[in-house]
Symmetry: C3
């Protein structure tokens, strides 16, 4: 009989599984940073998530809000929408990629091949996030595709694998 915890430690002795854990934590950290950035942008442009978050105006009639949004509402909305949509885009892609990567590790890929898949995805998504926020095209599409190649590659390998299971 195994001692407690020995099993889980054995998992990390597998280099492909270790690489999976490393890159998954990295990409999820990137996702959490985008989520935190949404909160920062919300405060900066005073666009609360819910009605009860609206603060009452200052009693001093001469006081101006740090960032008013009377005449610039459209632009503020766009800024908030942009980071929210990036986060939604992350939610659509990253958790599914992490789950598929876990299954991919079970197919026993070579370490080099697996690491390159994870690395391309991480780099592609990080660059995609940056140019998404900067509204740069066609860069956004290019980096989206860069991240999409390992995603589709892993999915196709998995379909082939499970059909032969």
């Amino acid at each position: 009989m195994m001692a407690d915890g020995l099993l889980l430690e054995t998992l990390l002795e597998d280099p492909v599984f270790s690489a999976f854990v490393f890159y998954s934590v990295m990409i999820l950290t990137k996702m959490v940073l985008v989520q935190s950035w949404t909160t920062v942008i919300r405060f900066q442009y005073r666009v609360p998530a819910l009605p009860e978050d609206y603060q009452k105006p200052s009693k001093d009639p001469d006081a101006k809000p740090k960032t008013g949004y009377s005449d610039l509402e459209g632009r503020y909305q766009e800024n908030v929408q942009r980071v929210r949509r990036l986060h939604l885009n992350d939610m659509e892609n990253i958790p599914v990629f992490v789950i598929l990567s876990f299954f991919y590790v079970l197919t026993r890929p070579s370490l080099t091949v697996a690491v390159w898949h994870f690395r391309f995805y991480l780099v592609g998504r990080v660059l995609h996030s940056i140019v998404y926020l900067l509204a740069l095209q066609p860069h956004r599409t290019i980096f989206y595709i860069l991240a999409h190649i390992p995603f589709v590659s892993i999915l196709l390998q998995l379909i082939y694998f499970v059909l032969n299971l």
Copy 2:
């Protein structure tokens, strides 16, 4: 060679892994309850998800809908929006927390420390959901932060762990 299933049973012999399974099922159950509540609210306020769900009005001209929304549309919309946004908030946070917790178990934390992380998160999110639906501030922010502390703590420990992997 191991008998089938022995391996998976061994996983649950690990007390930290068992705690992870327990608290993950609990928090996901909470999330599913919020999702079910969205459906209840949709029926109650007759706000269907898609156009084909609108029911034809009753043939009896004196019949009134149980819950009309001609003159109260704004309030109904807000009620439906509130529970939908809570569910979206859950989707943004809970699956990522469960995946990160799985990696966290691999870092071999002590049982006590791990359980307190999971417990704070569960209690924080449950209270957050309740005050979210009741539109109570600053309680919502307080409970959000309560759940966010173990989330960030686990993430930071994981980053430290994988950088030393």
Copy 3:
């Protein structure tokens, strides 16, 4: 001491775990197909995700856009909204089902029972997706419920299991 990778290979020797991997890859593939379909529909109806994606009109004054949306904006919007909502519905349900299924495998269900749970869910969700896009009611509700039965069954079994852990 185990050789690298032996552990992960042992996981797939468990027939219930294998079935879990097979059906999870299948349902996630369906989800990715819906996501790809959203992109196709976006291009077809020229409803870009972000402002910078709008293409400038052709210089040739007689050229007509392949699919204009001046007079049919409402209908196009609806088509794009429909597939986006289906994808959102997938995101709300499928990743949570896959995570819960993983925990369900740990409860050591019989192979037959587990496979029927996974099979009903997969068939229910695939049919749900088709009739969702075709706007067919009450079929959509029927297939949603068909997929919801194994979902709820797995959740209830898990709650019972972890309360006795």
